[in-house]
Symmetry: C2
Subunit: 219 residues, 2 copies
DNA sequence: GTCTATACTAGGATAGAC
DNA sequence: GTCTATCCTAGTATAGAC
């Protein structure tokens, strides 16, 4: 318990931040962290190169020794966000126990958890993706589509097997993804709910939404 | 200015997705429509006063004869969006038949419908609200809170009366609002689903989510 | 890698003619 | 109300010294 709590405390400290392992060391990492905060707060277009420099503790010109342009900073963040989410979803599916209901619960739980624990990253990855040109956006769009397919395949499986009654997997997926994504907009670390509580509750909502039988909803 | 220009102004203002009644006639309306499209597409900070002028068919300087600043254009749009949504929610509640389940279905239906039919307006009202200073944002924030209370009161009523089993109305509201809001991000007029289909399906999801009894979910 | 200095562009807003 | 012309600031990015 001690180790897990410690780990959680640590990730909560960097929460609303970047996944630790994905952050480059030194100045490049500080630029990324500064960009994340500022893009989340004021948007990409509302943030200047000088804002980023000030937040990162460097002169704005130094940024160009690490990234080719402001857009390249954004591209790094957006890709990172999509990779983190997709990785978590895959891991959740692989380690989930039980049938479609258990897998769906795990998938939604991971989705919501990611959007709470990395709220800023999710915000930037979702809201500013459209800024990126075609080739810069492509990898993130591909990851997003793959993540979507994980959910759709699961819903189809559940419907075919009779565990789910949802008549329209496409709309069910849109609803499930939507309620999870919005969490990044309102979650704050000092709120009455922990990310885990939200994730568990929302995964129950998802099961109800697809019409999973009551006895399949046990955790 | 001839009738032809007036007609163009009106259709330009309404075709993009502004509630007809709320659009000022003439140039002011075209500016609003241009701002709506551009803010929805590129964001407030990503849109220049010259962009707006070009889209509205006027010189950028002319904008200042109708609005005091670019921010005032945004303020008008954001308020309009929140007013439209709140008005629809109220109307839905007043005209709904049945108990809490029927009211919830009507409320969610109106919420989703608004986010599909006025997707651009919803996008701008939600994504750019934070740009506005305190006094400019206040009326919209107040409307948003009132709308939220409509839903929360309804959920409480349903839980107290035993029609809903949702243990946590706050999280249920967040989920319901979230899935509806996201519709504005993916709805497109040429999609396989009509706004009504989405609204009806999602209102069914909301009922399932709060644990409304099956026999209460009839339309 | 980091800074200072600077080139150059684009942006918000105003003045004044019509 | 609308335009042309313009002011001034702030923005992205580069050059070159250290």
């Amino acid at each position: 318990m001690g180790d897990r709590m410690l780990e959680r405390a640590r990730s909560a400290a960097t929460s609303a931040g970047l996944p630790t392992r994905a952050v480059p060391p030194g100045t490049a990492g500080r630029i990324l962290a500064a960009g994340l905060e500022l893009f989340a707060e004021k948007g990409f277009s509302g943030t200047s190169i000088r804002d980023i420099g000030a937040r990162a503790g460097i002169n704005s010109a130094t940024l160009y020794s690490h990234y080719r342009s402001k857009e390249h900073v954004l591209a790094a963040l957006v890709l990172l966000g999509h990779q983190e989410l997709h990785g978590r979803l895959q891991h959740a599916l692989v380690t989930a126990r039980g049938g479609p209901a258990g897998k769906l619960a795990a998938l939604v739980r991971a989705h919501v958890l990611a959007h709470a624990e990395y709220a800023q990253l999710a915000l930037v990855a979702n809201a500013e993706l459209h800024i990126l040109g075609g080739e810069a956006a492509a990898p993130s769009l591909a990851l997003r589509e793959q993540s979507r397919q994980l959910l759709l395949a699961l819903l189809d499986e559940g419907v075919r097997g009779g565990e789910f009654t949802a008549a329209d997997p496409l709309l069910a997926a849109a609803a499930i993804v939507g309620m999870g994504r919005q969490v990044a907009h309102w979650y704050r670390p000092n709120q009455p709910y922990t990310p885990e509580q939200i994730a568990d509750t929302f995964s129950g909502y998802a099961l109800a939404l697809v019409g999973a039988a009551e006895h399949d909803r046990e955790k």
